[in-house]
Subunit: 311 residues, 2 copies
Amino acid sequence: MTQAQMTATDPYPTRGEVEEVIPRVDPVVYDNGKALGGHGLSKEQVASYEERGFILLPGVFDADEVAELCRETERLKADPSLNGRDELVLEPDSHRARSIFRVHRFSGVFDRLSRDPRILDKVRQILGSDVYIHHSRINIKRPLSGKSFPWHSDFETWHAEDGIPRMRIMSAWVMLTENTEFNGPVYLIPGSHRRFVACAGDTPDDHFRESLRKQAYGVPGVEALRGLVDAGGMAGAYGPPGTLVLHEGNTMHGSPDNITPDARTNLFIVYNSVKNLPADRPYAAPRFRPDFLGGRDFEPLTPSVPGAGGP
Amino acid sequence: MTQAQMTATDPYPTRGEVEEVIPRVDPVVYDNGKALGGHGLSKEQVASYEERGFILLPGVFDADEVAELCRETERLKADPSLNGRDELVLEPDSHRARSIFRVHRFSGVFDRLSRDPRILDKVRQILGSDVYIHHSRINIKRPLSGKSFPWHSDFETWHAEDGIPRMRIMSAWVMLTENTEFNGPVYLIPGSHRRFVACAGDTPDDHFRESLRKQAYGVPGVEALRGLVDAGGMAGAYGPPGTLVLHEGNTMHGSPDNITPDARTNLFIVYNSVKNLPADRPYAAPRFRPDFLGGRDFEPLTPSVPGAGGP
């Protein structure tokens, strides 16, 4: 497909000269949300996700499981083999870990989690197909100094910079510490997944290096945001450790600083439908981001057995 | 009083070599909280303030009054005579107003508000005496980019840098816009007013210029904060426009950034007891801050008549 053809058939053009808010043309839930495994969502849960663009599910992982995930996070933070690698992203004003990417490849524990049927059955149910991992990461919002992140649609970036064609991609994230109203939680705009904010501005080359620390492109302006907030309000993703959040890829979200004395840590896994593989080139960037951000292993995931131990 | 005498008798030494958490020696409520006017707090409200170190009082000012205060704020923001004055404090990374100080002197509307018996009766009841204004300010936390403010005790700064001897000083603040969990609200640590965190570090000369934009001295460390939070938890000061907050000067507080599309604006007035006049020199700074921060007009305030019009 040439760039001209791609633009002609792209329902979500972005990074142009002006910002525009345009309707979503894709379903939110595919194939009527038919359950594809024993750990699917209820009808009511599917309807809530479809309506709001996210759902919080406290208690999916128990305290022992969370403790294991936290130990594994500490191990990765201290792993000298990650030093200097792109997968390790530092705070804008310090040399402390803000994110670790590709954790499902660095760790048997996270690989197993990423294929846990308690996540995978729900994700496949919503996306109506097999899925693969677009990327995974741990986000650590440090005590006192963990920085805010501006509002954005993940899909906007995945489309513009990774070539993901359509809205058939989502995040599942697990709270490894409690997320409270005080510690820099994720705020979401319910219903915002039904509109696409085509953001203004050309994507600079290698934008990802800067954007993972502080995003500057693919960020909506104040008027577009006010329109979304006026329509849907805001919601805070609060919950105890072990809460699973399913988060539609286009749902607008952001987060304030963490000024509390304790870190706020979440694990994110981005699942894409195997029916939504990346195009030959990104839709609005000079070249693809590296594959720790936009995965190129499209093999469908097979469920792991919870609690089965090492990989 | 010489510096040596002052140090010897000072129950709240700070800005030394190490951080220390020491007990408060002063009352929180003076003279048993006896009402000194018709707009005082109830016994239960006094007890709650004494216990927690703050109290939220929604609905003290009605929509028309708030609208007038907002119009007056806009007028001051546009007032060219404030350009370049120290009273106008800008955001650390922009040239937009973050705070306007001394508003009770620049504006008849704010002068009248600062002497409104709905505030003054409550403040005099708590401090058990006549009061004067240590300073006043409007804090505007801008949409999308309004910055966070680290945890601090106001009293620590007023003691160290303005020479306020004892904990007989408090803030009254009025919400001019709604304060929500999302828009960079003030977080407080209930009960923290009963301990004094003596902060480490020498105060640089003219520290106030930097500290009003981003405080770096007089900020407790993570362990002291964790101790206070473990004991008292955290509370968000949320409320509709027109909410009055009474805030003990030593109550630890901070606020995250405002990432919402709308500004969050509050008016603060700091009242000091006439029985707590500043010492001859600051307790832990080379010299006094300027008088827009540490007022030198100790004349007791006389109540205004609500709705009486111009000064």
